[in-house]
């Protein structure tokens, strides 16, 4: 599984997605991606990639594209 697939699976598992493409998601775009869901997503990504994301990046992660860019900052080849 590629790192991109790993990242997608974080979204799918956190938000219990079945037929929604994570790449189309944005913060508050679905009920599950509220502030609580956001912190669960961050925890899932941190655990999956063994990184610790800083507060400003947590605030900036407003959609899947941003998530890709932020994860790259921490050395993940996604």
């Amino acid at each position: 599984m590629s790192a991109l697939d790993d990242l997608k699976s974080c979204f799918v598992e956190t938000f219990d997605l079945s037929d929604t493409d994570p790449a189309m998601l944005a913060y508050h775009g679905i009920p599950a991606w509220d502030s609580v869901g956001h912190m669960q997503l961050i925890a899932a990504i941190e655990t999956r990639f063994d990184i610790m994301i800083e507060t400003q990046d947590i605030l900036d992660m407003s959609d899947f594209r941003q998530a890709v860019a932020i994860v790259r900052k921490y050395g993940v080849d996604v």
């Binding site: 961050i42 925890a43 941190e46 655990t47 610790m52 800083e54 507060t55």
Partner: protein, 250 residues
């Protein structure tokens, strides 16, 4: 500094731990078998020496990380270092603080801002990052150091009291928000404790205040530390502010 090989030790970070109550907490946690992270704004060599002293006396892993609690970037770097070197955090003792004495009309803005930055915002920054590390390993405990002044107030201490009262609000809210992640958050409110922080007071003032203490004496840093350790390990206590004040706040 001893190498941080954990081998099952829980990890405790004590902010502002090179002296006073922080140092007493570091010693109590080391004695209880925790790997202890010493933190402060002293120079790196002095903190490393403190950490080594602790490791040698109690045979636990120790680490020294310099970070000013009032600087958000330094606190973030502190947690990146903990994550890289130790991978986990089980206890945060949010102890770093600065005094800000003065009558209301005589407190300069920079003194108020520094007290709020270190005591209030600094406690928040540490709690914010610590909770995220704790959440990755099933939970943890945070003990914030407020003050009897933050709970009861005191003349000539409004700026300090305001900054310490903020810690009470932080404790109560964080306990509710982080409870579902099995992260407990409590606070200790020391009264008159024999530390360097009292050295600026005249003996007559100390004596006058001592007479207000039902137990008739000042507390010790170790008595505060024992309470902090108790709260860190009490599995069903969260959202409490516990006075360690000889009855002064009763």
């Amino acid at each position: 500094m001893s190498e941080p090989r954990l081998e099952g030790c829980p990890v405790a970070l004590v902010t502002g731990s090179t002296r006073g109550i922080g140092w007493a907490c570091a010693r109590r946690f080391a004695e209880a078998g925790y790997a202890v992270i010493i933190n402060g704004v002293s120079d790196e060599a002095a903190m490393t020496a403190r950490a080594a002293e602790l490791g040698e006396e109690f045979g636990v892993p120790t680490l020294a990380i310099r970070a000013d609690a009032g600087d958000e970037a330094q606190v973030a770097a502190c947690y990146q270092a903990i994550f890289k070197k130790l991978r986990r955090l089980d206890v945060l003792v949010n102890n770093a603080g600065v005094l800000a004495d003065g009558k209301i009309g005589m407190v300069p803005g920079h003194l108020l801002q520094r007290a709020l930055a270190v005591n209030a915002a600094g406690s928040f920054y540490h709690l914010q990052s610590a909770a995220r590390l704790m959440g990755r390993h099933g939970g943890g405990a945070i003990v914030n150091l407020t003050s009897i002044m933050g709970v009861r107030g005191a003349p000539g201490a409004s700026a300090y009291a305001a900054s310490k009262a903020a810690i009470v609000g932080l404790t109560l809210s964080a306990a509710k928000e982080l409870g579902p992640q099995n992260i407990r958050v409590n606070a200790v409110a020391p009264g008159m404790i024999e530390t360097d922080m009292l050295s600026g007071l005249k003996p007559a003032v100390i004596e006058e205040r001592r007479r207000l203490i039902p137990l008739g004496r000042l507390g010790t840093a170790d008595e505060v530390a024992r309470t902090v350790l108790f709260l860190a390990e009490a599995p069903y206590i969260t959202g409490q502010v516990l006075g360690v004040d000889g009855g002064m706040g009763g």
